[in-house]
Subunit: 326 residues, 2 copies
């Protein structure tokens, strides 16, 4: 599987080892092959089923049961498993990593990843943690696709003292896979993602469960009448439970801090409802529209109504503005 | 504007008056014209701009500044304004309604609508409250489209003693506009919608505002890294603030009850995070997937990853299942 990348100067890495081949690992394979960015892609998966699927789909040319065997000779190793097993994997593969190799990951938390992985990295190996902020509610090797990272952000959180050439090589790779790249500290990453990803997922999981356990409203009613807003939450709440368990166990402080702010603000809104304070509600609801405009202008979501769902308007003309009006 | 409906037996109503022509009012016009269901459609809007737009788009053949004039001679009147002004409108139009006319509405709350509107309905006029559970984050007369109600549910909440023939005529109309129809009490409607629509909107408004007012995370970061889940909430939070203010002011008890349940469940999850109870988190997250499957099976959402957003996979093949796995 030798191919040239877009610049015609050959692949950016000779042998890429994917440790884990779920939604993100398989999407990386698609994006690497789209760009001709890797001379060879091999992978490790825990289950025989995933290994067989990865080979069948052509995600990798070799699929290993042993993570240790997968990393032999790789100049880039990407951890794509749930973050809860990173420590054990790092301990296992550490002694077998090639000199000069770059090790990175795609985990949704970063401080805990540095804590768990860095101690196992031998001298001469460059550990550059990363997090592509992209995904869908589906999981497994068949759910990946080449465009997943296009125009999404990938955050790199190299610990102090990391080799800058390694950081630049990884940045160039993510950019070649379609991403924008930003570098920040692991701790700041965890704080930002707590509010933009972790708490939103937690409250989506939570409201779906609240709805499912009401005595006076049936599950059937919750499902039938979900188009009023609830269905959007069910999509987020369909995300991989193992991945999300590990995220919350490994970003406790930031998540609990953000949940505290969320609860405080929600109590404020609830009090406004209780006492009929329409002005407060109107003001808060209007302000939220501004952030939506920013998200669309930044290219991070579609402006099409209902996300452009199949049941939306057939016309492609611009809908009316989201300007608040009385 | 005379046309025959699908059954070839002529329009179902001779003259339909839309009181308010925003997203829902304009979509009703599109759906009525698609099916040839109305002999004539006229409307009332408060602003000259909306009236001009409605005429330009052909939503109505006459657009009145006065709601009273709009309802003259109408055999169907549909209130499509924010529910906070229903009482005043009902008092105004009541004396001018035609004998035998059906008056309905599209408001997101129902007990308060019965309270505010019913006392103003003269004898011989049939008041059948309704709520089509469909919408987008856009508002105004240009945001409507004919397919908005297709395969969505419309709930009718006729007060005890309502003429059953009137209920049946309205049911048939909504079915002809593409909807499924269910009849329930106003109080039960308000409880069901509190959990499937009102509380989801409130927590979306709330988290967007929480994110916007953090000291340690900038608005720019919130927007850039929104693809991790937050962007979905910004869409819901872009909904019309006037409409939602009125919803919360008019469904206080059910919303506060559901918020209490939501907060209780969220505290339970937060405690599990604090004490590192991975099993509890995994179990709760896994259960949420079942509800998502029900929503898709019921045809209330697309199974396409990320709602089928334009940045999703190009292939139309089925993605992998949302079965939980360890």
């Amino acid at each position: 599987m030798t191919s040239a990348n877009a610049s015609g100067s050959g692949p950016m890495f000779k042998r890429v080892a994917l440790i884990g081949m779920g939604l993100i690992g398989s999407s990386i394979s698609h994006a690497l092959r789209r760009g001709g960015l890797a001379g060879e892609i091999v992978g490790h998966a825990r289950t025989a089923e995933t290994r067989a699927t990865a080979l069948r789909l052509g995600l990798v040319t070799a699929a290993y049961r042993s993570a240790t065997k997968a990393v032999v000779g790789a100049d880039l190793v990407i951890l794509c498993s749930p973050v809860g097993v990173y420590g054990a994997i790092a301990a296992e593969i550490g002694p077998h990593l090639a000199g000069g190799a770059i090790v990175t990951d795609v985990g949704s938390v970063k401080a805990a990843v540095v804590r768990d992985v860095a101690p196992h990295m031998p001298a001469g190996v460059h550990f550059v943690p990363g997090h592509p902020i992209a995904g869908t509610e589906y999981s497994g090797p068949e759910s990946g696709f080449a465009t997943l990272f296009d125009n999404r952000w990938c955050v790199l959180t190299p610990p102090t003292g990391t080799d800058q050439a390694a950081v630049q090589r990884l940045r160039a790779l993510w950019e070649a896979m379609g991403s924008n790249v930003e570098v920040m500290s692991p701790e700041h990453h965890d704080l930002v993602l707590a509010i933009t990803s972790h708490v939103p997922h937690l409250i989506a999981f939570n409201i779906v469960n609240t709805a499912a356990h009401l005595e006076r409203v049936t599950d059937s009613e919750v499902i039938k009448f979900s188009a009023g807003g609830f269905r959007d939450f069910t999509r987020i709440a369909a995300s991989d439970p193992t991945m999300w368990r590990d995220v919350f166990l490994n970003n406790r402080e930031a998540v609990i801090e953000m949940l505290g702010r969320f609860a405080e603000d929600l109590a404020h809104l609830q009090r406004a409802i209780r006492f009929g304070e329409g002005e407060t509600l109107y003001r808060q609801f209007s302000e939220a529209r501004e952030i939506r405009k920013g998200v669309i202008q930044a290219g991070q979501d579609t402006a099409a109504p209902n996300f452009g769902r199949a049941d939306g308007p057939a016309v492609t003309g611009a809908p009316t503005s989201v300007e608040p009006k009385r």
